[in-house]
Symmetry: C2
Subunit: 348 residues, 2 copies
């Protein structure tokens, strides 16, 4: 589970200081957006706003020991994920991210090489999603690693999608497949415990490649946003699946003041996820409903788009919006109707 057997070179942050560190990190980023007039290096970044669009802003923080465990999360993956999850929030408004800022808190147990790995991931994400890193703060932390990211983006005024627009009879759809990221985490946690019990045991991850990669390599579904644009489809409501399908669908129901009916046998799950669920004595249906961090897009659309959606690989129609009075329901594989409930988020 450790970094490497060979001794990597180690440059102490103490020998560098904050300003040199920022210069070093900033030098690795090139600007891709014409709207970025001035990036890192002044009191604030200077951008040209897109007058024809709505400006979107979102911010998320990842904390060591709460959101990630560095014993099995490579820093490069973590940097990538910190950007991707914010871009996913912009995508959930049907928007495209243009700029991000990144605040990092780190202690001197991190070497310059470790920070470089983290920023390599950040840089890869910025490059993949074509957004600019335009600012942030690098500070010492007396405890764990802290990554706080803010993303800015735009969406055409007539294409903005909120959580609150779902209407009776709209189709409920989700991109990709669900539950894999959650099971990937279970595998990583199990292998960590095995390693802690006996440090000669090397992690056995080969057969779990798909689910582990879904946990460690989060991607924002900006391709789905692009596809909506190409097809002239504007969903009526949308959210990204971060807390779990049930919890996130309930947000749409609450904010749209509607009910929902979802069919368990239509919930998209990969064979590898199902196998792992059974291995962990978990009901695959439960995992697809409540496993978080898939960062797929959950959305509702008018029935008129049924054909386009059906023809599109990688998008599943999982149910439809109902009257408010009906609440949110799940039709199980055995055709029972049960209320859909959120698994509470209780980190405190």
């Amino acid at each position: 589970m450790s970094d490497s057997n060979s001794e990597p070179s180690r440059t102490e942050l103490d020998n560098l200081g904050e300003f040199k560190l920022i210069e070093h990190l900033a030098s690795q980023f090139t600007q891709k957006q014409q709207s970025t007039l001035l990036g890192i290096g002044d009191d604030a970044a200077v951008l040209i706003p897109d007058a024809n669009c709505n400006l979107l802003v979102t911010s998320d923080m990842l904390l060591e020991g709460v959101h990630f465990d560095l014993s099995y999360t490579p820093l490069k993956h973590l940097g990538y994920k910190a950007i991707a999850v914010n871009i996913s929030d912009i995508a959930a408004m049907n928007g495209i991210c243009t700029q991000v800022t990144v605040n990092i808190g780190l202690s001197n147990r991190f070497s310059l090489e470790a920070i470089d790995a983290l920023y390599e991931g950040i840089q890869m994400a910025c490059s993949h999603y074509q957004c600019d890193l335009v600012g942030g703060d690098t500070t010492s932390s007396v405890t764990g690693l802290i990554i706080s990211v803010t993303a800015l983006g735009y969406v055409g005024n007539d294409r903005l999608v909120k959580r609150s627009g779902a209407k009776h009879n709209d189709l409920i759809c989700v991109s990709g497949d669900l539950g894999a990221a959650y099971l990937g985490l279970q595998v990583l946690e199990r292998e960590k415990q095995v390693f802690l019990a006996n440090s000669e045991m090397q992690p056995q991850l080969d057969q779990y490649e798909y689910i582990v990669s879904r946990q460690l390599k989060a991607e924002a579904r900006t391709d789905v946003v692009t596809w909506f644009h190409e097809q002239g489809i504007v969903p009526t409501a949308m959210i990204d699946v971060s807390d779990g399908l049930a919890s996130d669908l309930l947000h749409i129901c609450k904010q749209s003041v509607v009910g929902a009916r979802v069919y368990e046998d239509r919930l998209p799950i990969e064979a590898a996820t199902k196998d792992a669920a059974l291995e962990f004595n978990l009901n695959p249906g439960t995992v697809t409903l409540h496993g978080g961090e898939d960062y797929e897009l959950l959305f509702t659309v008018d029935q008129k788009h049924h054909q386009s959606i059906e023809n599109q690989q990688g998008i599943s129609v999982i149910g439809h919006i109902t009257d408010t009075g009906q609440g949110a329901e799940l039709v199980t594989a055995s055709e029972e109707i049960v209320p859909l409930e959120a698994q509470g988020w209780r980190h405190f």
Copy 2:
């Protein structure tokens, strides 16, 4: 040094959960900016960008044990400061802040009442500076309190001020007075040590009211930005004094590729600051040069504005910009010329 002698009521965060907490906090904020279409409660905030201006973005993070000590920092003041320091960065570009996002990491040692105090300060700052809280993240922290703020603002295209525009013969000016926040911190630290040694000793802060308030009640000099606007003055370069005058002036020199000559006897210092400096066996000149966190505006202007600046109370002309070759120099009170040096920031 403790909060109060009476037992305050305490509501555990565990009993609330994240969504309820966010609802509770969001309900206390009213929107002031017409450009805020949608604030807290969706995947991202939705704003109408100001097409005639440059968009400014800045982000800063405050960490317990590094940037603040809760044994003498009231949570309300801390919340206020977290917003003010970001607005100060927007002001340093000659801009006005319109929206902020706030990410908070907190452990269950904080009660709902404590979080309310923190957000009361955030709300007071948003109200004072007329900006909207439009989003953010509230998450558990396994260690200390973390506050990460991003501020958005605007500046007219022809009024943008960067660090890089200072020219030979420009006046170097600073608002307000310097060194007080640093000495306020020294007093608070000393009283904390006295209290730790003997908990029956109550802190003696009365005579240090000014310098302590400069440390605990940070304000952004948005009034100076408004004054520039009214006077038709556009500084050639500007930065806010967060790391200390010397360090921040050197940023201007480096980014403008110029030198500077600053006169020690022109550095603005309050009598209370000078008294405290002498009490701590510190040279008052050193304190004005290197004490950080005053959040005053350090700027350079063309000589043609000399009269307006001279007539304006609370702005001091402290020197002028010179050729690059000359470097940055301090003319001491005894008329010696010495190089101006930054006190390195070495938190790691």
